[in-house]
C-alpha cells in the first residue's frame, strides 16, 4: 500500500466492446429522461421556499416533538400551515407556510408562528427562519435557470473551441440528458428543489463534462495515432484506456460526498444525495451516451470507415 498499488479497478488489458451496447444505452437513457420529463410535470418538483416563496421555520422542542400539539397550537392562532414534519432528530420540527399574498403578510406570519409556538408549546426554540417574498423567489428562480443555461452554453462553446463540433454536440446532448435525470430523481425523492439544488446540478454538469472531456481527449489523441482504425473500435479503445481513470475519479468523488449524505445533517444531505446520483449518471453517460453520439455524428466526418478510400481519410483525420 505504501509503495506498490495494492489493487487495480480493472486490468489494463480490459477491452470491453462498449459500442456494441450503444443502442441499448441510448434507449435506456432516452427512456429514463423521458420518464423524468413526465415526472417533472406530474407530480412535479417539490419546490423549496427559495423558488416558491413563503415561510419555513425550524423549531426544536424539549423532548420528542408532538406534531398534533404543534398543529393544534398553530390552528388555534388561525395559521394555515402547509406541513409540519420531522426534520432529522425527533425533537426537530419543520413548519412550512405557503406563499402569503403580500410581503407584509409573509413577515406577519413569521411573528405569528413564533408567538403560537412559544405560547402553545413552552420550551420550543426557533432555530431557523426563512421567509422569501414573491418578488424575490421569482428572481431567484430566474437567476438559477439562467446560471444553468449560461453554463451549458459556455461549456458547449468551450468544447467546440477545443475539439470539433461533433464533440460539443455530443457533450451538450449528454449533459441535457444528465440534467433531466437529476430532475427526475428530485421529483421521485421529493427532495426540495432550491438554490442549493441548482448548485448541485451545476456541479454535476461540471463533473460530468470533466468526465466527457477526458474520454474525448483520448479519442482525439487516438484519432491522430491510429489513422486507419474504424471510429467504432477507436472509441471503444479510448473508453477502455481511460476506464481506470474514469472509475477511479468517480469513486473518489463518490467517497468524498458520501459522508455528507450520511452525516451532513438534514439541510445538506439532500444536496449530497443528488450529487451521488449525479456522479453515477455522469460517469455512465460518458461511456454509454456521449461516446455513441460521437460515433453517430462522427462516423462519416471524423473518420471514414476502414473500407472508405484512403485519400479522403488522410485529409479529414489530420485536422487537430
Amino acid at each position: 500500500m505504501f509503495i506498490k498499488p495494492l489493487l487495480r479497478i480493472v486490468p489494463d488489458t480490459t477491452r470491453i466492446p462498449f459500442m456494441r451496447g450503444r443502442y441499448m444505452g441510448l434507449i435506456v437513457s432516452a427512456f429514463l429522461s423521458t420518464a423524468s420529463v413526465v415526472l417533472f410535470f406530474y407530480p412535479g418538483l417539490n419546490l423549496g421556499i427559495d423558488f416558491s416563496g413563503g415561510v419555513v421555520m425550524q423549531g426544536r422542542t424539549e423532548g420528542p416533538a408532538d406534531f398534533n400539539q404543534i398543529r393544534g397550537a398553530l390552528a388555534a392562532q388561525h395559521i394555515t400551515e402547509q406541513g409540519v414534519q420531522r426534520f432529522g432528530d425527533e425533537s426537530e420540527v419543520l413548519i412550512r407556510l405557503g406563499a402569503q399574498p403580500t410581503e407584509a403578510a409573509n413577515q406577519a406570519a413569521v411573528a405569528q408562528v413564533r408567538a403560537a409556538l412559544e405560547k402553545g408549546i413552552p420550551g420550543t426554540r426557533i432555530m431557523r427562519t426563512d421567509a422569501v417574498g414573491a418578488s424575490v423567489s421569482a428572481e431567484l428562480f430566474r437567476n438559477g435557470m439562467l446560471a444553468l443555461v449560461v453554463s451549458l452554453v459556455m461549456i458547449m462553446v468551450y468544447i467546440w473551441f477545443r475539439f470539433e463540433w461533433q464533440f460539443a454536440v455530443g457533450a451538450v446532448v449528454t449533459l441535457i440528458l444528465d440534467v433531466t435525470k437529476a430532475i427526475g430523481f428530485l421529483a421521485i425523492t421529493r427532495i426540495e428543489f432550491d438554490l442549493v439544488m441548482v448548485a448541485a446540478i451545476l456541479t454535476i454538469l461540471g463533473y460530468s463534462t470533466n468526465d466527457k472531456v477526458v474520454v474525448y481527449d483520448r479519442v482525439r489523441e487516438n484519432l491522430r495515432k491510429y489513422k486507419s482504425m474504424p471510429l467504432r473500435d477507436l472509441i471503444d479503445l479510448s473508453i477502455n484506456e481511460t476506464l481506470n481513470r474514469t472509475l477511479g475519479t468517480s469513486m473518489t468523488v463518490f467517497l468524498a460526498s458520501l459522508p455528507l449524505a450520511l452525516f451532513g445533517g438534514e439541510s445538506i444531505s439532500g444536496f449530497a444525495w443528488v450529487m451521488l446520483f449525479g456522479i453515477v449518471v455522469g460517469t455512465s453517460s460518458s461511456i454509454f451516451i456521449a461516446a455513441p453520439i460521437l460515433l453517430f455524428l462522427g462516423e462519416h466526418r471524423l473518420r471514414r470507415d476502414a473500407a472508405a478510400p484512403v485519400a479522403v481519410k488522410a485529409t479529414t483525420a489530420s485536422r487537430p
Binding site: F2, I3, K4, P5, I9, D12, R60, E103, A104, Q107, R114, I126, M127, R128, T129, D130, G133, S135, V136, L140, N143, A147, V150, S151, M154, I155, Y158, I159, L195, V196, V198, A199, L202, T203, G206, Y207, T209, N210, V213, D217, R218, E241, R245, G248, T249, M251, T252, V253, F254, L255, A256, S257, L258, P259, L260, F263, G265, S267, I268, F271
Partner: protein, 525 residues
Amino acid sequence: MMYFSRLKTTIILAVCLLGILLGVPNLFPAPASWMPWRAVHLGLDLRGGSYLLLEVDMKSVIKERLDGLTDGVRQALRGGKIFYQTLDAQPDQDRILLRLRDPAQINEAVAALRPLVSRDSGSGQADLAIDSNPDGTITLTLSQVALSNRASGAVEQSIEIVRRRIDETGVVEPQIARQGESRIVVQLPGVGDPDRIKQLIGKTAHMTFQLVDETANPAAGGPPPLGDEYLPMQDRPNEKIAVRKRVDVDGADLTNAQAGTSPETGEWVVNFTFNSIGARRFADITRSNVNHRFAIVLDNKVISAPVIREPITGGRGQISGSFTAQSANDLAVLLRAGALPAPLTVVEQRSVGPELGADSIRAGAISLAAGFVFVIVFMGIFYGLFGWFANLALVVNLFLMLGIMSLLQATLTLPGMAGILLTLGMAVDANILINERIREEQRLGRPPLAALEHGFSRAYSTIFDSNATAFLAHVMLFVFGSGPVRGFAVTITVGIATSMFTAWMLTRLLVSRWYANTRPKLLPV
C-alpha cells in the same frame, strides 16, 4: 518536465509554506493577540445570524415627489391668478395632469410653471418636462434621470438611517449594503431572532406636529373639511381625530429624544429637544394657540393630542401616550435616527440560531474528516507511493484553499463546506490522470524517466480542459447565485485553482526529487 531549477523549487515550496501559514489560523485560536490571525469568515448559516433583504418602496418616493410638485403648481398658479379645473398627480405615469379653466391662458400658465423646473448641476438636464396642449391641458412629467437620482438618494439615505437604528440596538458588526436599484441587504451576525430589529426598520418614523381642528367631527362621517384630514389614534385605531393638513413642525427638526418617566404621573414618556428652527416654530405655534389642541402624528397615526396650556419656548417637549418602557425607548431611537425617506419592506429573511449553526459546523467537520480519510485510503490502496504523493499534495491543497479564502476574506457557508469536500474528491482527479498516464507510458516500454516525462506532459492538456469546463460552470454559479450558494461557488473555484497547482507543480516536484534520490528501474505505478 522533470527538471526543476533551484529557483523554481524554492518558489513552489514557498507558495506551499505560505499557504499552510495562511491556512493554520483556521485550525486554532490565536495563541497571542499580536499575531496576525486571519481565519475564514463563517457565513451566517454557520455562526448564526440573520440576513434581511429590504426593499425601498419606490412608488412612495415618486408619489411624495409628485405631491410636493402638486403643491408647487398650485402656488404658482395662484400667484399668477390662473384658474384650473383639475390638478391630478398620476404616479403610475410619473406625471401631473393639469386642466386649465381657460385654454387661452396656456402660455401664461406654462411661463408661471417654468420656475419649478430645476436643472442637474452636472449634466444640465431638466428634471421635469412641461408639455402643453391647445385644449388647455398641461402635463408635467418627471424625467427618468431625475427619478433614478431621487431613488438612488432615497436608498442611500435609508441605508444611513437603518444603520443608525441598528447601531442603537447594540448588534455587533452589522453589515448594511445596497443591492441593485432599490434594495438593501442587512446582515446581523449572532441575531437569531431579528423581530425587534425588523420592527425598528419597518417604521418610517415620520413625526409631525399638526394642529387639531376642533370644529370638525370625524364621527359624523363624510369627507373631512377642506385642509383637514382624519387620522386614527395610535392606541385606539377606531377613533379618528381631525387635524389640519398643514405641518407646523417636522420631526426632522428634532435634535435629541430620550425615553424617561414623567415625574408627575410615573408614566413612560419621550422627551425631545428641537433645533433652533424647530424651537422657534414650536414657540410661535404654541403662543398663538393656547388652550387649543395639537396632535403629535407618527406615520399618519396620532400618538397624542394634548391641549396647549402655555407657550412652549424652550425648544423642549414631552410626548406621552400610554407607552411601555420598550415602546418609549423604541420611539426615542426612531426619532433620534431620523425618518426614512420611504417605507421599507422585508422581502427576504434568513435567520439561523447560533445553536443550529454550531450543529452544522459539527456535521460539516465530521463529513469533511470522513471524506478526507476515504479519499486518502483510496489513493493509498490504488496508487501506492504515487498515491501518497497525491495525498500529501491534497493536504497542502486543503491548507492552500483555506489560506486563500482567509486572505480573500471569503465567507465559508454550509454549502461551501460541501464544496470543499467535492474539491477534495476532484482534486485527486489530476493525480489519477497523471498516474494512469505514467503507467501507460511505462507499459509501452519507456524507461522510468521518459515515462514520467511523457506521463506528466500528456496528462497536462487533459487536466487543463477538464478543469476549465468545471471552472466555467462555477463562475456562472457565482455570478447568478446568491448567499450561501455563492460561498459554494467560491470554494469550488478556489479549489480548482489550488488543486491544479498542487497536482501539476507540487506532485511533480515530489516525484522528481524521489526519482533523483532513488533512481528506480521500474516505477511503482
